[in-house]
Symmetry: C2
Amino acid sequence: MSFKLSNYFPVLSWGRAYKGGTFVNDGIAAIIVTIMLIPQSLAYALLAGLPPQVGLYASILPLVAYAIFGTSRTLAVGPVAVISLMTAVAAGKLAAQGTPEYLAVAILLALISGIMLTVMGLLKLGFIANFLSHPVISGFITASGLLIAVSQLKHILGVDASGHNILEMGQSLISKLPETSTPTLTIGIIATLFLFWVRKGLKPLLMKLGLSERLAGIGTKIGPVIAVVISILSVHFLGLANQGVKIVGDIPKGLPPLTVPEFDLELWRSLLASSLIIAIIGFVESISVAQTLAAKRRQRIDPDQELIGLGTANIAGAFSGGYPVTGGFARSAVNFDAGAETPAAGAFTAIGIALATLFLTPLLYFLPIATLAATIIVAVLSLVDIASIKQAWAYSKADFAAMMVTIFITLILGVEAGVMSGVIISIAMFLYKSSRPHFAVVGQVRDTDHFRNVERHNVITSPRLLTLRIDESLYFANARFMEDAIYDLALDKPQIEHVVLMCSAVNDIDLSALESLEAINERLMTANIKFHLSEVKGPVMDKLKRSHLLHNLTGEVFLSQIDAIKKTVGNAHGAQIEYHL
Amino acid sequence: MSFKLSNYFPVLSWGRAYKGGTFVNDGIAAIIVTIMLIPQSLAYALLAGLPPQVGLYASILPLVAYAIFGTSRTLAVGPVAVISLMTAVAAGKLAAQGTPEYLAVAILLALISGIMLTVMGLLKLGFIANFLSHPVISGFITASGLLIAVSQLKHILGVDASGHNILEMGQSLISKLPETSTPTLTIGIIATLFLFWVRKGLKPLLMKLGLSERLAGIGTKIGPVIAVVISILSVHFLGLANQGVKIVGDIPKGLPPLTVPEFDLELWRSLLASSLIIAIIGFVESISVAQTLAAKRRQRIDPDQELIGLGTANIAGAFSGGYPVTGGFARSAVNFDAGAETPAAGAFTAIGIALATLFLTPLLYFLPIATLAATIIVAVLSLVDIASIKQAWAYSKADFAAMMVTIFITLILGVEAGVMSGVIISIAMFLYKSSRPHFAVVGQVRDTDHFRNVERHNVITSPRLLTLRIDESLYFANARFMEDAIYDLALDKPQIEHVVLMCSAVNDIDLSALESLEAINERLMTANIKFHLSEVKGPVMDKLKRSHLLHNLTGEVFLSQIDAIKKTVGNAHGAQIEYHL
């Protein structure tokens, strides 16, 4: 592929054809997303343990960067629940919430994971995300949703609880129950019930009132704003702030400050692992949203360029006081449904949020924390995906096991341990499976040149010849297995004079497997058995020609299996003896 | 497989049939191995930074344990070079050489790695060793040989040098050159040259003197003993110990003490990683020696039981003041050549070494350290395997790269980092390859039911039908790749009405790949393309029946590809249009 600037700056492609009609559509979508994003940004900043304005800051420049570098037409980036939780976990290891150091670490996490994403994109490493299997992702998201919901209960109760896993949190909450603030709890419960009703009941209501399904769907997304407005008014006019209801309070007015993240080598090093996990989880979440939406309009997403888009978004966030962001499902779906046509909608949303930070923040003074916690709880409980757990159980016990391990480790040891163990389990199961490849002893289908598994077909074999077909490339991980399989089948069977390894499914033979083939050849030679290969693919044969194997081989390399039969034991038809393992 | 006690106690099998003739052969082999093992044990203890008697202790009970639990008839276990170096590295992180703490850590390493090996054996995890690819092992052994040789130069020069990698060692040696002890250097050089001559020149000489090739070969293995005796006599009679030549000095007389390793949770935890690496490297080294020798006599090695054999050997070592051991190549070959028939030879060797610790140690008082260093240097330089490097370069650049990375990281960052990065690189390369499986667009071979790659064969295709054959099981790692391949080939080609995925080489479809198939089905549906499967294997079909895929599939599942052709586009012969990518 030749270098094309527009590959790296997708804005050059869609920007050139930008028209007035598109502008109107993008603008309308941006207004709706802005309204939705304000309470979300505040809530997720709270979840990340950061001052509320940081959530707003993270929703300005990152959106502009993504609009320039991202390939999705409709993805809306910003703070999301899971990444906010992971930020809290990573930053909490190095500093206490509420301190300037904590904020500095959160900003640094955005910078480092942004750099990692960008570099991975430039190196075309988008495929790395494929190693997070679906059951692991699904289990991780489910467990994170539960973890987040439980972590917010303290705000609903109005108590100071703590804990790093679901057990500690539960214990701490129960011990603090007597300190519950009744007005806070009242606000929390009403807001939660209201938001649940918005999810289930508002859409049918709006449709009854004559709105189209699309508009009614968008309307429900504005539910949190209604909750925010009503609870601000209640707190203000009922004077609840003096009765123990915690409120957002003063939010610094104005655009995000230009920040230069700290450069402290030791600090950077201690954040590398957390940043990588945040980067990869963020990317996986974002790309699946982007691909789902792109498929609906038959657009394409370039994973490597998406890495650059998300990476630059995070870097931009870090330089403007924000914390790690990624593409969120709910807001992207709203953006899509509201008719956004190009990434410009994201840039317009950024303008909307910037205006909000300039003018709206004083109005949020009386916003109760309990309302924000309620919006988080209602949002994350939809992440809990029981259907996927059931599906995994029905479909594959191995996938189910990987999912359950991820869920339990995430709940009990935390998000980083959860996702790491999920990846390790997936890869270990994969390696284990491919270390014992499928293989079959094959025989000739009567009157044809076809060869099939002796265990499943009625085929002809000769007692003097053993033909083994290995259905996988030969690698270090399965080389020893192949050796053992051949020894088990061929040694101590005095009739056998020839062993043919049928390589029709072998796309590569690495050095370890080559050495195993040499060992097999030598060992069969001491047993007076000739070792042959058949149906070796062209590229594999080219490689073998550069080794000593062909020179030392006691047998031959046959172009086809039927040749192998003819030139070793004559025509197998003559023998007509069924071979059984 | 039913439980058989003799599977876990191989001694029960060979012990029952033990005869007088076997006893004589085993006894002779044991005497020869004992003579060879005494200087080796002292030298490797020196390399491990331990008192010389610890090397002897490690050559007594471990041999008895292996004789009971091991499956190799001729493997000789005991201290070996690479494991001694790894012990020095691991123990050096926690204590200073010469302190009781250092010895305690070395003993604990034997215990923990012994427990790990035994547990892995009981869990049948022998296959784990397969994930160390041959180039990685070979590179690691080569680099370790170089590292060890350089680390012993200080003893040849008679100076105090230090360093954790080859650069530091070299620097330290050069700066200490002025302090070189001339008598030490003289002994060191003479011993080294003598031992090299023994390797190359003694065997032809002995054969000229009328010995058989086998006996001459065994004779050369006793060379180190000659060097030891001559240098002891020289130091004693020339009074070199007073002229700065470091000697072994007092070795405590008597059988190894029964030791109870320390149980300190923190200490154990900090040794887990090092113990695991020592366990796995030791196992890989040992099993390849065992298998090479077993193949010569057409015996079989059971890898899982070997884990138990080595594991119990190390546990036995830990309780008798020893440090980590494994099967060594040189001594096992001598044992084999000297005619050992059963593991009893190992037990007899243990008796020999026990007698040596009882009666021989005072004679070793004047043994110069430089001579031991010379035996180490000459032994480990044979580990440096340039031929394998050349072979890897010729055969596969990927394998060569893995090997070189392992060599350089081992030399520069040390043995643990070297072997870890080797494993990671091997697995990463393997995952990368299998994440982009081989696939082919296939067409029908004229007048047959065969289907072949359109790029390599002259086949018939229809512009209305795209048939893709994927030559690998479908997993999370390659699911996205398959999606992309299908979209690239099928979308935006308005003639295509049917896509058939030919699954003849697909042995499994995991949940991630299932979800990708569902996504493909849905996406092709929006493009009015029907999605079919063909030649799905029985077990895969059983799994698919438990999913929603078959229910939602826009197309059908065809038993054979020819059926797929007939039922989608009629007979492809009618179209006779060559299809090109």
